[in-house]
Symmetry: C2
Subunit: 328 residues, 2 copies
């Protein structure tokens, strides 16, 4: 490709939390960006600031249906990612993962586009190995209430791996661990949005169990940075890395390995919102409480020269700012 030709990117789930950040980043780098979204969990608000940009297009489209167009790079991010959302529409969630992946792989194949697929730490399920390395196969229930997401995402990885092996499609996959930041859905039921919303509304901050269980939190900009580095690599470098590591297909963990207890997160939230009248309250641990997960990011460090840069303090400040404005 010549230097002065504008590169074209397609972002599925482009009006979602992560998708909208990626669109913004690609536009900043000079791309022409098309965002697809069915607006099930994505919102127009997330991309409002981009609609005036002549290099940006939004298409209301569901990826379970084929989509055609000529792009240099496809970023497949479409899928409800919060249990609150995907358990509300389990079959549609599975279809989004699986049919969406099929449609995007077919598009990549026919137009010779590179494709980055956003997989998830949920493919590791309730992991028996800590921290999780990419070569770990996971521990996932096929018939539970979380299975639509976990198995849909696992199946999408398999499809991507087979399109790469069979047709030579240039697929790259990231397994995204817990990520937060502005544009998160305020009611997605995850701990960071819960705590901030509770603190802003002067409601009790609910901790389950003793609050000493740990979590790791990746700020959204660190993730988009990893994605862009990954897509910039020449294919040969990606292939050589897989060969060297014995990986059947290029899958790389992206996440922040620094661990905090839920109690520390609650305390930091209140420290940043000193005007809040919220107090910490403790409730019994629910039976399906997400298990501890922590990424091993050695592969990302080696292949992408990447590691997370945004501290929880800084990332939380930006996220609180976003939620505060949302409430105004």
């Amino acid at each position: 490709m010549e230097q002065n030709v504008i590169r074209k990117a397609l972002v599925t789930g482009g009006a979602g939390f992560l998708g909208s950040h990626l669109c913004r980043r690609l536009l900043a780098e000079g791309y022409e960006v098309t965002a697809l979204d069915n607006l099930f969990t994505g919102t127009r608000t997330n991309i409002e600031d981009l609609l005036d940009n002549s290099r940006f297009s939004f298409v209301l489209h569901d990826v379970t249906r084929p989509f055609w167009g000529q792009f240099d790079e496809i970023y497949n991010l479409a899928c409800p990612a919060s249990p609150v959302h995907y358990q509300y529409r389990p079959i549609e969630t599975m279809k989004t993962s699986v049919l969406g992946m099929m449609n995007m792989l077919e598009l990549a194949l026919k137009t010779k586009a590179k494709i980055l697929h956003s997989s998830t730490s949920e493919v590791y399920g309730d992991p028996l190995v800590h921290p999780q390395v990419e070569t770990y196969w996971g521990n996932v229930n096929t018939i539970g209430i979380r299975s639509c997401y976990d198995e849909g995402k696992r199946c999408a990885e398999t499809l991507a791996a087979d399109y790469r092996r069979e047709y030579g499609v240039d697929v790259r996959m990231v397994r995204i661990f817990n990520t937060y930041g502005p544009s998160m859905h305020p009611k997605d039921g995850r701990v960071i949005s819960n705590f901030i919303m509770q603190a802003l509304n002067n409601e009790d901050i609910t901790l389950f169990g003793d609050g000493l269980q740990t979590r790791s939190f990746q700020y959204c900009d660190d993730l988009t940075d990893a994605m862009r580095r990954y897509m910039e690599l020449p294919r040969e470098a990606v292939d050589a890395f897989c060969e060297k590591k014995g990986l059947g297909s290029p899958v790389i963990n992206t996440g922040n390995p620094e661990e905090y207890t839920i109690k520390e997160l609650a305390e930091e939230t209140l420290r940043q919102l000193p005007e809040s009248k919220s107090k910490l309250v403790y409730r019994p641990l629910p039976s399906d409480d997400p298990k501890r997960r922590k990424p091993d990011i050695a592969f990302a460090k080696e292949l992408l020269g990447w590691e997370p840069k945004v501290s929880l303090q800084d990332g939380l400040a930006k996220t609180i700012e976003y939620f505060r404005k949302l409430g105004e």
Copy 2:
């Protein structure tokens, strides 16, 4: 349903190894049977004896496309099941599992049919628990060369579980362990067909490693018997069983837990073919040799009042007879 109304069954993969046996069994019980098959691994030969039966119809159809019709019971058996076949067409294999399941669940939903889905012991992958119980989540690679089959089948289970939970579809699933018998594909690359073909052709019988690794073998008629018992159960009994066992959806192992070494199988094959000039030869174990699997069938015993009845000696005799005629 009134006693004297003919019950209608749909069998996907009806011209395949297991599907054709099931069609035969259903016809013997008085059903009207429609067999769907795309003839990728199924053959007309498998159902030749049924074509004259006025209660039998064969439709050349690929289950990745929707199919409509009114049936009381759907048996979803369509999918290449031997590594030789599914690794030749990995993407189509995945589509058969996933899209085929979606299409059949939609059919079951719209016509209020019961549906039995044939899952597989491969959902346990390379199991870390022996013998395998239905509550074990498995150990499966998402991006390897066997993943198209394993993950496709896992994903189909998830879909079935969600259609049951969300729409109340009356789904029942069997996880089928290694099964053999007449109508097996002579070149499917599995150990029983390999040994018989080698013995009949006076070729060396190839054992990998020391031949002391064990396998369990279920005769096809035992499996169709389990399937029929399962489908005859009232829905309430199935639901109550799931509740009692803490199963998210009705999945039952069917297989023969009796274990034989590969060497014992080779010796029994030669004992039944005394005229064969074949000798046992030993080769190094390949890296992707299927791991040991043995079903725990306590659930099937309790729910279905079922256990395998056909001995390896008897089943092998019938299978040898079939392969012998095939060669004539």
